[in-house]
């Protein structure tokens, strides 16, 4: 942060009391792990893990013209969330098609949208969105008074059902609904960043500790840090803003063409993206699998001994037991099965291009089949 002090979420003291290892992340003091990344990772894949993601930004946009105005800002089509309570993953781009951020837009009211953005982009996004809204569209930055707790894993909905009491029906995947958790009014969104089924709880900051403790009162619920959040999202190939995409890359190259409907026009960056689509992207974000070593951010990707790209995200996959990575490579080398190499410090190890997700069978994939 500008003045050098780290921000704290409403759950900061809970993390410290639980013995979390705290690190600086995007200006926030956040838990990177409690018991251990692999243990927490496994809890989410097989049981229930909870994450404090209150550092993320929450904006509200209201007004009769809110939808039309947001349509101009985001690439995905808000017609897809006409139904109240539905949500949309999207990016927003600059005029050149460069990704400003990825975000989720929730249709929370007749004339109202809730937008959740990355912590690292909160100020940039707020400035970008508010400067591109016409007069008459109202906005509120709710980030400081809002806490966000992700409850993820095959057992997540069971825990939420226990807290809401009988009669609660979980929202559909990618939908949001009001709920009462242990007497506290909250919003429950069936979204997440782990590849597992589960929810994200949006609540007032003053209720965060109570909800966090209520969740941890279940023996099977494991507190998880940003370390496990990163390995979980990477196993299912979810890109991370700032590592796998930024202003210098367009959504088509980043593998996010699916949030940029071809039929939609008139949004910021539409012309540039149409040109990129027409010409075809020069490079693409691909998955890479290695059998030895752990690829990490910025490690070179090689083909026949020459550097052809760089690892944007890499880790050891606790589920698969080997290294996995995302990297931008020239389109000619982006076909699944292509044999490349990654320079892992002193060694050059073989790497095979694959189409993410690396981990295909999860409680979330099961809800789709």
């Amino acid at each position: 942060m500008v003045d050098g002090t780290e921000l704290q979420t409403p759950l900061h003291d809970e993390h410290v009391a639980l013995g979390a290892r705290m690190v600086d992340f995007a200006g926030w003091r956040m838990p990177v792990q409690y018991a251990g990344i692999i243990e927490e990772h496994t809890a989410v894949r097989t049981g229930v893990g909870i994450f404090d993601v209150s550092h993320m930004g929450e904006f509200r946009v209201f007004g009769v013209e809110a939808k039309a105005a947001l349509q101009r800002i985001v690439t995905n089509d808000l017609d897809r969330i006409e139904e109240l309570g539905s949500a949309l993953y999207t990016v927003m781009c600059d005029e050149d098609g460069g990704v400003i951020d990825d975000l989720i837009v929730y249709h929370t009211g007749d004339l109202e949208y809730l937008i959740v953005v990355n912590a690292s982009n909160r100020e940039t996004d707020w400035d970008w969105i508010t400067s591109h809204l016409p007069e008459g569209v109202e906005t509120a930055d709710e980030s400081d008074r809002t806490a966000l707790i992700a409850v993820q894993g095959p057992g997540a909905l069971g825990v939420i059902a226990e807290l809401t009491g009988p009669g609660w029906e979980p929202p559909q995947r990618f939908a949001i609904a009001e709920a009462t958790l242990g007497g506290t009014p909250v919003l429950v969104a069936r979204t997440g960043y782990t590849g597992e089924d589960g929810v994200e709880i949006v609540c007032h900051a003053s209720h965060a500790v109570g909800i966090w403790r209520a969740l941890l009162s279940f023996a099977e619920v494991v507190p998880c840090g940003l370390g496990a959040r990163d390995t979980l999202r990477l196993e299912v190939g979810y890109p991370l803003y700032g590592s796998d995409m930024d202003r210098g890359v367009d959504p088509v190259s980043a593998g996010l063409g699916w949030v940029v409907p071809k039929a939609k026009t008139g949004y910021i960056g539409a012309k540039a993206i149409a040109r990129i689509r027409e010409a075809g992207p020069e490079r693409k974000l691909v998955g890479l699998i290695v059998s030895e070593g752990v690829p990490r951010h910025e490690y070179p990707v090689l083909h026949g001994g020459s550097e052809v790209g760089k690892v944007t995200s890499g880790t050891f996959s606790p589920t698969l037991g080997h290294g996995i990575a995302l990297a931008y490579v020239p389109v000619a080398l982006a076909e699944p099965g292509t044999a490349l190499e990654i320079g892992i410090r002193r060694k050059v190890v073989p790497a095979v291009v694959t189409r993410p997700p690396f981990v295909k069978e999860t409680s979330l994939s099961a809800t789709r089949s």
């Binding site: 990177v32 990344i37 692999i38 243990e39 370390g227 390995t231 070593g293 880790t315 050891f316 410090r345």
Partner: protein, 127 residues
């Protein structure tokens, strides 16, 4: 946490001297800081190391850390079991989690390392 019969260096390796052979691994502190170890890269037996030389790497999910040899000599044995079971470094850093054995040219080199009390004091001032 820090056995009294071992010597320690500032890079968080430990040394156990047995005759003229030094067994080397990483300390409880080092394994705790790394978190769950997923990969250990060690040299081959027969290599010669000088004090301060890098002899390999240990990786956790989150980070990678270079290993430095606190003594001078020839590697006579390498703990190959760690390639299949790197987590042993966390579970038993002073026992099954050992990494290499080095035959020393000069056993008095070990006297220059910290004893357990000295190492704990070093850790305390580092915090």
């Amino acid at each position: 946490m820090y056995p009294k019969d071992l010597k320690y260096d500032r890079e968080h390796e430990w040394v156990r001297l047995d005759g003229d052979v030094a067994t080397i691994g990483i300390s409880h502190f080092a394994q705790d800081q790394l978190g769950e170890v997923v990969y250990v890269d060690l040299p081959a037996a027969g290599d010669t190391l000088a004090a301060g030389d890098s002899f390999g790497e240990v990786e956790s999910v989150k980070s990678v850390s270079e290993l430095f040899c606190p003594v001078t000599g020839e590697i006579v044995e390498v703990n190959d079991a760690l390639s299949d079971a790197p987590e042993v470094v966390n579970e038993d850093p002073y026992g099954e989690g050992w990494m290499i054995k080095v035959k020393l040219a000069d056993t008095s080199e070990v006297d220059g390392l910290m004893d357990a009390d000295g190492y704990e004091a070093f850790l305390a001032e580092d915090e």
